[in-house]
């Protein structure tokens, strides 16, 4: 059975991929997800963004649990 993850994109990243929500097959780690996304959306090649898994900031080799909500977060600019 394929594992699905739920992506939420914000700010400039949502603009570049053309949607705020997306479902993908789980690529395993955040690093792999970054590669998948950059392959699928060439506009992301030059974009800076971080990840949150289930609302916690995580990086690179972090594993993505089944059914996770993964957020794509461009640099924060509140205030």
């Amino acid at each position: 059975m394929k594992q699905v993850i739920h992506l939420k994109a914000f700010g400039m990243i949502a603009e570049k991929i053309g949607t705020a929500e997306l479902e993908l097959e789980n690529p395993g780690t955040l690093a792999a997800l970054g590669e998948t996304l950059r392959g699928r959306f060439p506009d992301l090649q030059s974009a800076k963004f971080g990840f949150a898994i289930n609302k916690k900031l995580l990086q690179g080799d972090a594993e993505i649990p089944a059914g996770a909500e993964v957020a794509l977060l461009p640099p924060f600019s509140g205030g």
Partner: protein, 148 residues
């Protein structure tokens, strides 16, 4: 017994009104152990960008995460400084130039704790909350705000 604090909403739709700020100040008149308040107000600036002049900022947030993070920051600041009160309000949606988008309000027995806590809160809010500002330009385009 210590009061148990729970996450509360910090987001306000649109600009923060000066009236709401005045009311918030007035609400503290009964708390007579307070000796000093510190307030920071963020206002939308009419920046000149190469692509045009900023006329408004449209704020969006990863709200659930931002509220969790704001609560975490709030608890840390309460643990670090002897504060009586702390209030944080941030705009979502469109805020025009000259209008207020951030209201941070700390109160303490003495001024130093209130001022230092307010300063640290503003820095942490800007650096750690997943909030984004889209700067709307008079040329009808937009650029994404960058915090310095």
């Amino acid at each position: 017994m210590d009061k148990v604090r729970t996450p509360k909403n910090i987001f306000v739709q649109g600009a923060i009104s000066p009236d709401a700020i005045a009311k918030s100040i007035a609400n503290h008149s009964g708390k007579t152990d307070i000796g000093g308040h510190s307030i920071f107000l963020g206002q939308v600036r009419a920046d000149e960008k190469p692509e045009g002049k900023v006329v408004a900022i449209d704020y969006t947030a990863y709200e659930e995460m931002a509220l969790e993070k704001a609560f975490e920051i709030r608890e840390a600041i309460f643990a670090k400084y002897p504060l009586t009160c702390m209030h944080i309000y941030h705009s979502l949606g469109e805020v025009k130039v000259g209008e207020l988008c951030l209201f941070v309000f700390t109160s303490s027995k003495h001024r130093k704790a209130a001022m230092d806590a307010c300063d640290e809160l503003v820095e942490r809010i800007k650096a750690e909350l997943p909030v984004w500002g889209k700067e709307i330009l008079d040329t009808e385009g937009h650029v994404w705000k960058v915090n310095v």
